[in-house]
């Protein structure tokens, strides 16, 4: 088995970072709608998709291409299909965001079609890879379930997109939107986070010997909850409240697993990436009681919007944190690794400025917290300030990633 290809994850990380930057700037632009809690407004929906499909999904695809050979001993089945998927996905997301914001029907349909083809190709490629993998551990199950829910998200998203022009969903549109959002974030993004971090967190925290069964519970609970939601969302209690409890319990299990890894770590001093990951997990913890509150109370639009912001930003920051671990490693392995043992080489941490990384992580975290608080309280100027802080953090991280990518021996 060869090492990870650089180009395939690399192109995903470049595109993902661009989506993050545009999305962060979009938050500033969407501040009035966010402060009013109008989460269904075109600009908020567009910005949300820059984060979910653009930043998160593109990054997760790239990370999986790099991660699968290490975790499952199986490289992606077809690199050619993966490159084609990338082109389709990035093109489709760009078109979709433009169509959502500007309300262009033809572009919307074209983007939905392209997105469906791209994601279907990705799932087929991933499915073959998972089928070939001999190791069927918690990571395999997490990625396998996540792939199923990405497909479900795509179907629901396409229906919601078509509904924008036809209105065929009628009164069930809010239910479909909530189902789409939760299957996307819990079923797809969170399950990949659970599966991937189950390997990466102990690797980067130097944490071994801790209890690892929490991750199994997390995968089982989240997958059960998302599955029930996907199939029975039209049924009260069993299709909504029960899935909410299952997913909430799964999130708690994931947080307990991460806490175990952090507590059992051998390296006491945390770098910027691992501190940001801990902050993202903290935000995710806030999302659990907030979800319960939103579900059981006739909450205001602003609180519902703040809840979605918590979920999207918690996942976004967790992925942003892992960029500080994955990208330097890829560059080191590609350009410095071949020289290992023949001369003195910089460490991975030497590839970027630690103070700047600390600043980026602090700004991203501060921006996220400011956004959540001000969206919940309806303070437009606060949302703008939060957006500026977040965008500045994202810009510093993007600049650092660019610098790392250009490092050579």
């Amino acid at each position: 088995m060869s090492g990870p290809p650089l180009r395939l994850p690399g192109e995903h990380f470049v595109a993902g970072t661009l989506f993050l930057l545009i999305g962060a700037i979009g938050v500033i632009y969407a501040a009035p709608a966010l402060a009013m809690g109008v989460y269904a407004s075109p600009v908020v929906v567009g910005v949300t998709h820059l984060f979910t499909l653009g930043w998160l999904t593109t990054s997760l695809m790239g990370a999986l291409y790099q991660f699968l050979p290490v975790a499952l001993g199986q490289s992606i089945a077809s690199e050619r299909v993966a490159h084609a998927t990338f082109v389709l996905h990035v093109g489709a997301v760009s078109m979709l965001v433009v169509a959502l914001v500007r309300g262009n029907g033809i572009v919307l349909y074209a983007s939905l079609l392209t997105l469906t083809v791209g994601i279907t190709c990705f799932l087929a490629n991933l499915g073959v890879t998972l089928h070939r993998a001999e190791r069927r551990d918690v990571t395999w199950w997490a990625i396998c379930c996540a792939a199923v829910f990405l497909g479900a998200t795509m179907v629901l998203g396409a229906a919601l997109g078509i509904n924008l022009r036809t209105g065929f969903l009628g009164g069930v549109q809010p239910l479909a939107l909530g189902t789409h959002l939760h299957i996307a974030l819990a079923g797809w993004v969170l399950l990949v986070m659970v599966g991937v971090s189950h390997r990466l967190l102990p690797m980067f925290l130097l944490s071994h010997g801790g209890r690892e069964y929490f991750a199994r519970y997390a995968v089982a609970l989240i997958a059960s909850g998302a599955g029930l939601l996907a199939v029975l969302h039209h049924v009260a209690i069993i299709g909504r409240e029960v899935p909410a409890v299952l997913i909430g319990a799964g999130v708690i299990a994931f947080l307990l697993q991460a806490r175990e890894f952090y507590r059992k770590r051998h390296r006491r001093k945390l770098d910027a990436g691992l501190r940001l990951a801990a902050g993202a997990l903290g935000l995710l913890a806030v999302g659990v009681p907030l979800a319960a509150f939103v579900l059981t109370n006739p909450a205001s639009l602003r609180l519902r919007t703040a809840y979605v912001v918590v979920l999207v930003l918690a996942c976004s920051l967790f992925v942003a944190a892992h960029y500080y671990k994955i990208v330097p490693f890829l560059i080191w392995n590609r350009h410095f690794g071949p020289l290992a043992g023949t001369r003195s080489l910089p460490s991975v941490a030497d590839l970027y400025s630690q103070p700047m990384a600390n600043a980026a992580a602090a700004l991203l975290m501060l921006g996220a917290v400011t956004l959540i608080v001000t969206v919940a309280s309806g303070l437009e100027i606060g949302v703008r300030i939060g957006g500026v802080l977040f965008a500045t953090g994202a810009a510093i991280e993007a600049a650092q990633m660019t610098g790392i990518a250009r490092r050579r021996p």
Partner: protein, 178 residues
């Protein structure tokens, strides 16, 4: 089956318990019989990366030099005044990378291999199979053997082939025990 004590040298700890041959010559010594032939016979049964344990009623110091010539280091335990346990294990270089963040294990291992003499073995102790290191070992012509001895413990035996007996990478010993 006997396993090395936990405070044993790392090179002894990486020996698979299933590959340890034990011979007890205390009764021979008490009866005045010469145990050397029996010890050497047991030594002949020791697998490539295995170890030999000898139980004797005194410290068998003369045996140390004999076994050293065979490429074995030793670790001695005095269990009682008339009960000595001596571990003879392959004199390999051991690199414990369990507390290193990737890619430090790769860098340190390749650096250590640069100074490894022909025919010598380096054992990397890791918490996982070092997937990125393996292709680099193949590129550089090292033979390796992976032993996943516990869920969070992997022993990677890396041998620099002797110059005279160097084989192309495709024919090198490459086994994966799971």
């Amino acid at each position: 089956m006997i396993a090395p004590v936990t405070d044993a040298p790392l090179a002894l700890q990486v020996v698979d318990a299933a590959e340890i041959i034990e011979t007890d010559v205390r009764e021979d010594l008490r009866a005045g019989r010469e145990p050397f032939a029996r010890i050497m016979a047991a030594r002949g049964e020791v697998p490539v990366h295995g170890a030999l344990v000898v139980r004797a009623i005194f410290e068998p110091a003369p045996l140390y030099r004999v076994m050293a010539k065979e490429g074995f280091a030793h670790h001695t335990e005095r269990l009682a005044d008339d009960d000595w346990r001596v571990w003879f294990y392959p004199d390999v270089l051991v690199l414990d990378v369990r507390d290193m963040e990737p890619p430090e294990p790769l860098a340190h291992t390749l650096a250590a291999l640069e100074t490894l003499a022909d025919g010598r073995t380096l054992v990397q102790v890791n918490v996982r199979v070092p997937q990125f290191l393996l292709p680099k070992l193949e590129e550089r012509g090292f033979a390796f053997e992976i032993r996943e001895v516990a869920p969070d413990r992997v022993h990677l035996f890396i041998r620099r082939p002797s110059s005279a007996a160097a084989a192309p990478p495709s024919t090198l010993e490459k086994q994966h025990y799971v």
